[in-house]
């Protein structure tokens, strides 16, 4: 009540396992119709957070709701939320199709949904094979198929790209984009920022169970520092001509020039009569930002 359908609210969520505080006073909100990347290094508490959100793990403190209700209060959870957690949660001796039909029965959905979602993830050909013979990528697809059974507004996916080959990752991006275009709320966790940066609107980055950064992906990308990559046989003449810009030597005589742009470096080189073999603008990638935010926060747990 009060909360729009599909808003995920994580409110001061804490989970203390015997010795480890896996999640520590974590709060964030996922707005309906957005794709949010939930990021953090391995062991940061992502899976524990998602399991608390889905009523599988009881929080030590705080609460997590979807559309204003706890998961275990949802009347028919599959019609509201689709969730894929680990890629190995299948009986190896059961076919993919039967796995889905078991869930259809439990959720009161018609059996034909099993075939429809298999079609959606491109698994129709493998439907009647036992999961034992599936590759990791196929298991991921089967897990994604299960999330779509009840045609939910909200999707919660834990590391769906794990074990996918480049072709599979490209397919996954398209799949997530498609979900977002249908105005569904998607919360997708990953330990690789680049994996979700192309599809996510927002990111929540956690480390050591705490939030270290939340915001729009665009803002994060904007912060990426630019540097100019220069290759020259005469660094000794060029460097003083750069008017005090910070120069960092790279391998093989490469120079990284910070605090200026490529045209300025080119102009300075021309004025100084220095020969240039390479002049490129580089932005430090998102992965670097992610590492800067999370390094030192994680501990071995």
């Amino acid at each position: 009540m009060g909360e729009p359908d599909g808003r995920i609210v994580v409110d001061h969520l804490t989970k203390q396992f015997k010795k480890v505080r896996a999640v520590d006073d974590l709060s964030f909100t996922v707005e309906p119709g957005t794709v949010t990347g939930f990021l953090g290094p391995n062991g940061a508490g992502k899976t524990t957070t998602l399991r608390m959100l889905l009523g599988l793990v009881t929080p030590t403190g705080g609460n997590a709701t979807i559309g204003g209700r706890r998961y275990d209060e949802l009347e028919n959870p599959f019609r509201t939320v689709g969730a894929a957690l680990e890629a190995s949660a299948f009986h190896k001796g059961r076919t993919g199709r039967n796995h889905l039909r078991v869930l259809c029965a439990a959720a009161g959905l018609p059996d034909r949904r099993a075939d429809e979602v298999l079609e959606m993830v491109g698994m129709t050909a493998a439907a009647n094979r036992k999961v034992r013979g599936y590759s990791l990528g196929m298991k991921q697809r089967l897990g994604l198929a299960a999330t779509m059974l009840g045609d939910p507004h909200v999707l919660i996916l834990d590391e769906p790209a794990n074990g996918l080959d480049p072709e599979g990752i490209r397919w996954l991006r398209g799949f997530l984009r498609g979900l977002a275009d249908q105005d569904r709320t998607v919360l997708v966790s990953s330990h690789l920022l680049a994996e979700v940066a192309q599809t996510a609107d927002h990111v929540v980055i956690i480390a050591g169970g705490r939030s270290v950064r939340q915001g729009k992906v665009a803002d994060l990308t904007g912060e990426a520092e630019q540097r100019v990559r220069v290759r020259t046989p005469d660094a000794a003449t060029l460097v003083p001509a750069l008017n005090g810009a910070r120069v960092e030597p790279g391998p093989d005589g490469l120079l990284y020039v910070h605090g200026t742009d490529a045209p300025s470096v080119g102009r300075a080189a021309l004025a100084a009569g220095v020969e240039l073999h390479e002049l490129t603008t580089e932005s430090s990638d998102l992965e670097q930002i992610f590492l800067d935010l999370t390094t030192g926060r994680e501990q071995i747990r």
Binding site: V57, L85, F90
Partner: protein, 271 residues
């Protein structure tokens, strides 16, 4: 609830375990039936002196009941194991996650498993009787005793035989829910059914002899297998309680294990 029970039955029927178990039940039933007919019944009917040990005497209805419930001991063992597997498979294969995502109210899942296991247990019991009753009836008729299928005690025994299959299934689900670990649950089932009985029986006998307190022997009827025997024997065993006391004892074991397990399952983190 019916949807959930359907889901649980589907879980069982879409993997190989059930028919392997059924094959085992059928195999043991055929062996038990052969022994019961060719050794026990034939000796009793011929009045062999050695047949006294079977204690069936001139009781034709008792003999028929004995033959018709052939395979019960191992049949109920398999049903108990299947009951335990129905629960522990979920943890062993990590399917507990999708199961509890589909049904966050976990006690409903356990109850559906109980109902599903009872259904499968009764079905297994029916299969054994489809073998034992016709074969036994033919044999008894051929030897001039008649099928005895018009005797109330024989019909009661057939019904109680099915009840035994149902209750042992409940017992299995209870143990699985309580222990979660597949190997541990299966070992406990096997020990309870095959070993513990004899061991405890021996201890009780020793105690009652040493202390000269005969009542101690009666504690034996509280053991699962003995309770099962009491329940399924239509004619009274000397010193034993009435059949329904056996049924209640057995049911209590199953429900206490299942109830405790449900309480734990409700609160436990699924990781």
């Amino acid at each position: 609830m019916t949807a959930l029970i359907r889901s649980e039955l589907r879980k069982v029927l879409t993997t190989n375990t059930w028919w392997l178990m059924l094959l085992g039940v059928v195999g043991f039933t055929v062996i038990a039936l052969l022994v019961n007919v060719l050794v026990v019944a034939s000796a009793t009917l011929n009045g062999d002196p050695q047949s006294e040990q079977f204690g069936l005497g001139n009781d034709a209805a008792g003999l028929a009941s004995y033959v018709y419930t052939s395979g019960q001991y191992f049949g109920t063992l398999f049903v108990m194991l299947l009951g335990a597997l129905i629960v522990t498979n979920e943890y062993h294969h990590q399917t507990a996650t999708p199961t509890f995502l589909a049904t966050p109210r976990r006690v409903r899942v356990i109850v559906s498993k109980l109902v599903g296991a009872v259904g499968i247990g009764v079905a297994f019991g029916l299969v054994t009787m489809l073998i034992s009753v016709p074969v036994g009836a033919l044999y008894l008729s051929a030897h001039g005793v008649g099928s005895q299928l018009d005797q109330p005690t024989v019909l009661a025994t057939l019904g109680l035989n099915l009840l035994a299959y149902a209750i042992w299934a409940v017992f299995g689900v209870g143990i699985g829910t309580l222990l979660r670990n597949q190997i541990a649950a299966l070992v406990v089932c096997l020990v309870l059914k095959l070993v513990a009985e004899q061991a405890v029986g021996l201890v009780l006998t020793l105690l009652s002899d040493k202390l000269d307190q005969h009542w101690i022997m009666n504690l034996m009827w509280a053991l699962p297998s003995q309770a099962s025997t009491v329940m399924t024997t239509a004619t009274r065993i000397p010193d034993a309680p009435v059949w329904y006391v056996g049924a209640l004892i057995l049911l209590a074991y199953g429900l206490v294990a299942g109830g405790l397990g449900s309480l734990i399952t409700r609160r436990r983190d699924i990781t």
